[in-house]
């Protein structure tokens, strides 16, 4: 595969076969194409895919010999969607301890923890959500639980063909009320511990007793690497005052930060805009889960966008099974004031930019891998469906564990069988 991705040995054979099957060209004709790089939609436009990449986007393109043609008349083509900050490939079944890998419970601050080796490309939720038009997602650790840490660890961006995108890691930090039991009961301790972690990372010869030290040598190296400013520090915070603390920390330590959750981010919108800090928010969050979110509103995205803040979407509960509904969440943000184009960008281009993978996912442009979806209609509308999903130029099957269950029992229903 020519793509800049790490393919695990477990899926290498499958991926190669898939690539072979996708060889040749596909021409999508006469669709409305949202490239996310051009200004606005391109009507009556063709997209030509060859050898896994978008070769051309334009009017009346010529199909190469042997190309498969898809009639896009009345259809909408967009980049494949971002599923958000998820446990994709980590939680085949959420409540089962043997199938639940996002948590580290070592009772230590271990920023070197990276969930990537636990990612299972055969997770059934990958096929289910891919059929719903999701083609990439962040796979994230979590700090939940008393034996965790405010620094949860790292996670990559994956595409929903099971590939992990190289160089896409983010570092995840959780602050605020939902984690105060981890830090001696006070959220002020959270900032104290972060400050000490930076001191340890930046002071190579610092001598500390074992019981006073927060980080392992590998942990110090991880923090230093992220402190160089290339990879994002994703801070899960909701309260306006915590968002301001994070902005101050970012300025002091010169970090590239992203706010996740951000229930009250709209109240800090001007500061976020000036600092150029994007927000990955849940468009459905309009109730105070706790007192950190008293300001939660369905207009969060619209107000941030208006203030010039980059907005991406994720569900606040980072499970993996139903991330296909992220486009519905985007539609709800649009119904509450966000421009439609910003709603689509929030689940395509913007998250790709946040995680440094915009050259591979989140847009449709000649020379880039063909990760795109042909929709029956408006992709943000609940009555539209993904008709064709391409990842790396390969037409993904619209078959999943769920379609097989459906087909088995539809037949039974038709036969009027009671049991």
């Amino acid at each position: 595969m020519k793509r800049n991705s790490i393919v695990f040995a477990a899926v290498a054979a499958w991926a190669l076969a898939a690539n072979f099957a996708g060889a040749g060209s596909v021409l999508i004709r006469n669709a409305t194409v949202h490239t996310l790089v051009a200004n606005g939609p391109l009507d009556g436009t063709d997209v030509l895919i060859t050898d896994g990449k978008v070769v051309s986007v334009g009017k009346a393109l010529t199909a190469p010999a042997g190309a498969t043609t898809i009639d896009g008349t009345g259809k909408i083509v967009t980049p494949g969607l971002f599923g958000g900050l998820t446990y994709l490939g980590l939680d085949e079944i959420g409540l089962e301890p043997t199938l639940d890998d996002p948590e580290v419970k070592l009772g230590q601050m271990r920023p070197e923890f990276d969930v990537t080796p636990a990612f299972d490309p055969d997770a059934t939720s990958i096929g289910v959500n891919r059929a719903g038009g999701v083609t990439f997602a962040a796979v994230t650790p979590t700090s939940a639980g008393k034996e965790g840490s405010i620094i949860s660890g790292q996670g990559p961006i994956v595409t929903l063909d099971g590939a992990v995108l190289a160089g896409s890691q983010g570092l995840y930090i959780d602050l605020g009320a939902d984690i105060s039991e981890l830090t001696g009961g006070s959220r002020a301790v959270q900032y104290m511990l972060l400050k000490q972690a930076f001191t340890e990372a930046r002071t190579p010869n610092l001598v500390l007793a074992d019981d006073q030290r927060l980080l392992t040598p590998a942990g110090r190296q991880t923090l230093l690497a992220y402190a160089k400013g290339t990879a994002p520090w994703v801070f899960d915070v909701d309260r306006a005052s915590d968002i301001r603390q994070v902005l101050a920390l970012a300025a002091r330590e010169k970090l590239r930060v992203v706010i996740a959750g951000g229930a009250e981010a709209w109240r800090v919108a001007p500061e976020l805009a000036v600092a150029g800090v994007p927000v990955i928010l849940d468009p459905l969050e309009d109730l105070p889960a706790n007192f950190d979110g008293v300001g939660a509103t369905l207009e969060n995205a619209a107000r941030l966008d208006k203030a010039g803040v980059s907005v991406a979407f994720s569900f606040v509960d980072p499970e993996s099974h139903n991330i296909r509904t992220i486009r519905q969440a985007a539609g709800i943000a649009v119904a509450h004031g966000l421009p439609w184009e910003a709603g689509l960008a929030a689940i395509t281009r913007v998250p790709a930019e946040i995680f440094g993978v915009a050259d591979r996912v989140g847009s449709i442009e000649a020379g880039r891998p063909a990760n795109l979806v042909v929709w029956s209609g408006d992709p943000l509308e609940v009555t539209s469906v993904a008709e064709q999903v391409f990842i790396g130029g390969k037409l993904e099957p619209q078959v999943s564990r769920q379609t097989e269950l459906r087909d088995r029992y539809l037949e039974k229903l038709r036969q009027n069988a009671a049991r």
Binding site: W266, P288, H321, Q328, R406, Y409, L410, L413, N416
Partner: protein
């Protein structure tokens, strides 16, 4: 069925006991004075001017779609629905061009007020997880009417909702049906005359809460079923003892010893008599089939399986037994018993002859847009080759939940004489962009999107500098 007739007789005698003692009997031993309604509803709809919604697309909830039609609300009731009606003098007129009108949306599965926002410890009142059978608790005693979720649900067209205890226990307790109106007390929201429900739970939750966490009974599904049976046996015995006592009293036995009253068995006995409606949290098809047999063993009826993620596997069985499925559109995989969830579940339960599908929320987020959940279910059904239409699907969130709650004669459809619980949408409600413009409850305009009240409805937001403003 011997058992059924016995229960009927028992029911007859206990019903008699509730009547005032007859003056002709000499010095009767007073029966245990049990109030049938100790926490009565104090809800009364405010008076309202007639409202005339004209030239709208109307989904009646009875399967009909009327284009360019009118709906007239008078004195809190639906007065007329049809074409070219005339507005009475003094009526408030709403121009319904491009707007859609539906019955008020009803959610059969909410924990609003009992597990409210903000979800702090002091507000956590939804699950009495201290014993596998807490049929003695009533969820209404947990409901905090200031839960801001009532307001956001109203913005989604919710006019009536059932608050259920959580699913930690085999028998969780009694439910309450509320009108979604502002009040400082839950009694001020209580749907007048609506029967209470009994929340029961199958499967993983009771196993996890008692077996896994506390090493107590039940720790298995067979333990769950043994637990239900033991409770129902006790309830039958309780009814028999009450009957024996009442017979003695009727015969003038002054030494008759009254049966010691037991709140838990009161609830179970009321469920056996059909006075309290049984709502069963159950995911797997095999467990639902077991529960259907169980209900026949003890002679009660399950009105709805809630969550019912595998209902599509036994859609015909549910229909034959007149049991509704109350379901999500697409949730799955968050626990083992939800692993087989599919997007066609609602449409397939609906497609069985006589099937009763309900879209439920179990979520303060989902309750705000049951219309969209129904739209997704319709879309999945259509794609699977099933016949779907807005005029039919609207019943999944109006008429069918009203039926399961035992209030179908009062609300759930736009029929003359019913409560004027009505939503006016800015477009076809089966859309992500659809918003409720107006929500009427008993003819009173409770929600007006363009003209929100000056202050938030929930006391919680008053004086909070962070409050997002009155737009929910």
């Amino acid at each position: 069925m011997k058992l059924r007739s016995l229960l009927f007789i028992l029911g007859f005698f206990t019903a008699c006991a509730a009547q005032p003692a007859k003056p002709t009997k000499p010095e009767p031993v007073p029966p245990i004075a049990i109030s049938a309604n100790p926490y009565p509803s104090t809800y009364h709809a405010a008076s309202s001017a007639p409202t005339f919604i004209q030239h709208a697309t109307v989904l009646t909830g009875t399967g009909e779609r009327l284009d360019d039609a009118d709906v007239l609300l008078v004195d809190g009731k639906i007065s007329a629905v049809g074409k070219s009606l005339t507005a009475p003098a003094g009526a408030t007129v709403i121009d319904g061009h491009d707007q859609w009108v539906t019955p008020g949306i009803i959610d059969v599965h909410s924990h609003m007020g009992a597990s409210p926002n903000p979800g702090v410890r002091g507000n956590d009142d939804g699950n009495e997880a201290t014993s596998p059978s807490t049929a003695n608790v009533w969820i209404e005693h947990s409901v905090w009417p200031q839960d801001p979720g009532f307001t956001t649900a109203l913005a989604g067209g919710i006019t009536t909702l059932q608050i259920l205890p959580g699913s930690a226990n085999l028998f969780g307790g009694r439910s309450v049906v509320l009108k979604n109106v502002p009040s400082a007390t839950y009694q001020g929201m209580k749907f007048p005359g609506a029967p209470q429900g009994l929340k029961m739970a199958c499967g993983e939750n009771p196993k996890r809460v008692y077996g896994v966490r506390k090493n107590q009974f039940p720790s298995t599904r067979m333990g769950d079923v043994a637990g239900y049976r033991a409770q129902w046996i006790e309830a039958q015995e309780y009814l028999r003892n009450i009957e024996a006592y009442e017979k003695k009293v009727a015969a003038g036995d002054k030494d008759a010893k009254p049966v010691t009253r037991d709140l838990r068995l009161d609830t179970l006995a009321a469920a056996l008599k059909g006075e309290v409606l049984v709502h069963m949290h159950c995911y797997r098809s095999d467990e639902m089939a077991t529960i259907i047999d169980l209900s026949k063993e003890f002679g009660y009826h399950v009105v709805a399986f809630h969550h019912a993620v595998e209902a599509y596997k036994i859609a015909n069985l549910l229909a034959e037994n007149h049991i509704c499925g109350a379901m999500w559109a697409d949730w799955w995989g968050f626990k083992m018993e939800s692993y087989d969830g599919i997007q066609e579940n609602i449409a397939m339960v609906d497609a069985a002859p006589g099937g009763c599908a309900i879209v439920h929320s179990d979520s303060e987020e989902g309750i705000q847009r049951l219309n969209q959940e129904a739209a997704k279910a319709m879309t999945a059904g259509s794609r699977a080759g099933l016949k779907e239409s807005p005029e039919h699907a609207i019943a999944w969130l109006t008429a069918n939940p009203a039926k399961a709650l035992g209030i179908a004669d009062q609300t759930g459809t736009l029929e003359a004489g019913k409560m004027a619980d009505v939503v006016v949408w800015n477009r076809n409600p089966f859309s992500v962009y659809a918003l409720a413009e107006y929500v009427f409850i008993d003819g009173v305009l409770e929600y007006d999107r363009e003209h929100p009240p000056a202050k938030p409805r929930s006391d919680f937001y008053l004086g909070q500098p962070a409050a997002p403003g009155v737009t929910p």
